[in-house]
């Protein structure tokens, strides 16, 4: 049974969590990738997932996509089992894993968001095309509709994949390191896209690597290393002691962690020694 968007919004209001993970335990072979992780994410949140390499971040994403069979525990999306909710969650791939030379245009990528809505033998409907076009409008990419995806800037490329996720009609977006390997300006542009998407009421779960920006970018953070170490506001999670425990002292960059109030004029003036 499909659930209309309106119903979902009402659920959002009555605070049914967008994502509810209960005692999730996943293992590949003898070593658990995730151990007894329980968390709940409210709708309309921009959530960062942090943790060292191999800490189970991508396993968590896979579990939310319904790709892995948990040893124990379950994942619910708006009250529905994750593996039954295929397509309800939109996945935005890591930039490095996309073949930007692939002969596909911006409009075609957005339309891919509708592929799950039609059986494989039937053509895409006019409605599907309209929805895809509207999604492109929402991310301000309509004018690039016929551009091949490799001929876009980094921020624009991210917007195309956000449009695909929006066209999919998903209330939950999973992003795998959207900021990996982009310059500062692009990072800013991508963050803008994420924030507008959140403002449209969607829930975003973002795997993130850079701890120095984590406090600026996200409403809440999830700190993972097999177990769930912390889930809360950036101030609660980016606690030096907690981080050094999780990262086992492999972390050196603490200089930017929230300390004193900082001027908000966007300048990078350094205090004179």
């Amino acid at each position: 049974m499909s659930i209309s968007k309106d119903t979902k919004r009402q659920w959002g209001k009555s605070q049914i969590p967008a994502i509810e993970v209960r005692n999730l335990t996943v293992s590949y072979g003898p070593v658990p990738a995730l151990l007894d992780v329980s968390l709940s994410i409210d709708p309309g949140q921009l959530v960062g997932v942090i943790g060292p390499n191999g800490s189970g971040k991508s396993t968590l994403l896979k579990a939310l996509l319904g790709f892995v069979k948990p040893d124990f525990g379950d994942v619910e999306l708006f009250g529905e089992d994750a593996d039954k909710a295929k397509g309800r969650v939109a996945y935005v791939p890591q930039r490095g894993s996309v073949d930007w030379d692939f002969p596909v245009t911006v409009g075609e990528v957005a339309l891919m968001g509708r592929y799950g809505k039609q059986p494989w033998w039937r053509d895409m409907s006019a409605e599907d095309r309209e929805i895809a076009d509207y999604a492109l409008e929402q991310v301000r990419m309509s004018e690039f509709r016929n551009r091949q995806i490799g001929q876009l800037s980094g921020g624009q490329q991210q917007r195309v994949f956000m449009a695909r996720a929006i066209a999919q009609g998903s209330e939950i977006l999973l992003l795998d390191e959207p900021f990996a390997g982009v310059d500062a300006a692009t990072e800013r542009a991508i963050l803008d896209v994420l924030e507008t998407t959140r403002e449209a009421g969607r829930t975003l779960v973002v795997v993130h690597h850079d701890l120095t920006t984590a406090d600026d970018y996200f409403d809440s953070l999830i700190l993972l290393k097999q177990r769930l170490y912390a889930h809360g506001t950036p101030e609660q999670v980016l606690h030096p002691e907690l981080l050094s425990e999780v990262y086992e002292g492999k972390l050196r960059v603490f200089s930017h962690l929230p300390t004193a109030a900082q001027p908000a004029d966007g300048q990078r003036g350094r205090a004179n020694e």
């Binding site: 073949d99 002969p103 596909v104 990078r268 350094r270 004179n272």
Partner: protein, 517 residues
């Protein structure tokens, strides 16, 4: 005239008259067109999925399949050279090869390129061994499989090819979106419920079938070329998968027709000639493709105007604003080819950085702003280099190179490190920080210049000369070798007092900038 018409006439004669007179030649023509169509279509996916090595493996493993299929049909049903039997055998051995390659490379530390190399040569060799061991039963001409023979295609072969073509094209048309999606983004495909593994195996099966038909035309060794060359050629021209497939089919046909014709004329093996022409087409397109071709890239690089040249031109015009700049005058000051300078000026005019009035070239407001930003970077770099102890006479040259590093953050950093200097080492004024000095913006007092006024919106450390949020400031001249900022506190029109600030204090006071006058 005559020389142009004659080959056309003879090509026509060959194509129509000779073929009509010889039914077996029509069969060859039909075979070629059919085979190149399916090869080109499947080849597009092989190119995009980067599995050409796999196609090579499939084609080689086919020999074992053909011999196996032949043996089974011969021994069980006593049928000679049964086309369907050999087709099924080839497909089976192809899929077995792909499956075992996948399995071994997943389960062992040996990477898949090495596994492919080991497995396909092994299975190919096994086919050869079987063929010679059972040569009394199996009348397979190994040589024919290795180099192909389009002229020796039987009726049953042709029927088999037609069936393959129908199956493959139906699959590609119906599952077009699924194929596109799993080639482009497998995770997305899986996340919306596409059966990725099934589609993979169906595509592999199609590839195996297509390879079997291709081998008839050009042989085992060259079939990869027939598969991939048209797709690779089309890839250089197309930005949509659908277009790429159509264009690939056209290249497949032209490669076949031209190659086949030339082989007749030169009396060489058609298979070899077809692959030579297909590769030739690829190289030609690689050279001349409008966007992704070699020449287009070269031309773009030649046409591109270096950023450095653009910045030098803006700088030269700004520094000589009291004189009138002409293209000739600019060319005298910049060591660069004058035609490139002219092109750069044209491009800058298009970007509304420069305006040209007859011979006279001048900066627009936007251009002046940009030029002043460069000048600021240049003079800050000079000050910084002097600070480092670089010799006076080298300052300008080295700053000239460094001024192209005018990234906002870098320049702000220099400015701050140098204590926001007013003059460069030669005594020229360093333009103010107009990136941040915009009325209405909140800025540190340290970057203000004489005459700026603003209202204090934040004081970041306690007790700075009694300054408080809400006070109006007017900045006066700098004192003590520009190390001290002097600000006047105003109450309406009347002066309340004068405060002297050091750099740290001036950094700690944030004002909302007002228009100066």
């Amino acid at each position: 005239m005559v020389s142009g018409v004659e080959p056309m006439n003879s090509a026509y004669q060959w194509l129509v008259e000779v073929h009509l007179a010889n039914p077996y030649l029509i069969k060859a023509l039909l075979t070629g067109l059919l085979v190149t169509t399916v090869c080109s279509v499947i080849g597009c996916y092989i190119v995009l999925r980067r599995t050409s090595f796999l196609a090579d493996a499939l084609s080689h493993s086919m020999l074992a399949g053909v011999v196996g299929g032949y043996l089974v049909m011969k021994i069980l049903f006593n049928e000679e050279a049964h086309a369907l039997g050999m087709l099924v055998g080839s497909i089976a051995s192809g899929i077995f090869t792909v499956a075992i390659i996948g399995y071994v490379s997943r389960k062992s530390r040996v990477k898949d390129d090495a596994v492919i190399g080991v497995m396909y040569t092994g299975i190919f060799a096994l086919g050869g061994v079987l063929a010679s061991r059972f040569s009394e039963y199996v009348h397979v001409d190994v040589y024919h499989f290795v180099i192909g023979s389009i002229l020796g295609v039987s009726d049953s072969d042709l029927k088999m090819m037609a069936v393959v073509a129908i199956v493959v094209l139906t699959f590609v048309i119906l599952a077009f979106r699924q194929l596109q999606l799993i080639s482009f983004d497998r995770v997305m495909a899986a996340s919306i419920g596409v059966n990725v593994v099934l589609i993979d195996y169906m595509l592999t099966t199609c590839t195996a079938m297509v390879v079997v038909t291709g081998v008839q035309v050009v042989g085992i060794i060259q079939v990869v070329g027939l598969l991939i060359a048209p797709g690779a050629t089309a890839y250089l021209l197309c930005d949509r998968l659908k277009n790429m497939i159509w264009v690939a089919i056209l290249f497949g046909w032209s490669g076949f027709l031209i190659g086949y014709y030339l082989s007749e004329q030169l009396n060489v093996s058609p298979g070899g000639m077809i692959v030579v022409v297909s590769t030739g087409q690829f190289l030609l397109v690689f050279l001349v493709a409008p966007r992704y071709g070699l020449l287009a890239g070269l031309q773009r690089r030649l046409r591109a105007i270096p950023q450095q040249l653009i910045e030098d031109i803006l700088g030269v015009i700004l520094r000589s604003e009291n004189e009138q700049s002409t293209a000739v005058a600019i060319a005298q000051r910049i060591e660069y080819k004058s035609d490139r300078i002219r092109k750069a000026v044209t491009s800058l005019t298009r970007q509304e950085m420069l305006q040209v009035d007859g011979d006279i070239i001048s900066l627009t407001d936007q251009g002046r702003q940009h030029a002043r930003r460069l000048l600021r970077a240049h003079r800050l770099w000079e000050s910084y280099l002097q600070h480092l102890g670089v010799a006076e006479e080298e300052l300008h040259e080295r700053a000239h190179v460094l001024e192209h590093v005018h990234d906002e953050d870098a320049v702000d950093y220099l400015d701050d490190k140098l204590g926001h200097p007013l003059l460069d080492p030669h005594g020229a004024e360093i333009p103010e920080d107009f990136v941040h000095l915009v009325p209405g913006e909140e800025v540190r007092v340290a970057i203000l210049r004489e005459g700026h006024r603003g209202e204090i919106v934040r004081v970041l450390s306690a007790n700075i000369g009694g300054l408080e949020v809400g006070m109006q400031l007017v900045v006066g001249s700098r004192e003590d070798d520009s190390q001290m900022w002097v600000v006047t506190v105003m109450d309406g029109k009347s002066m309340q007092g004068v405060v002297r600030l050091n750099h740290a204090q001036a950094d700690a006071i944030i004002v909302k900038l007002q228009t100066s006058d």
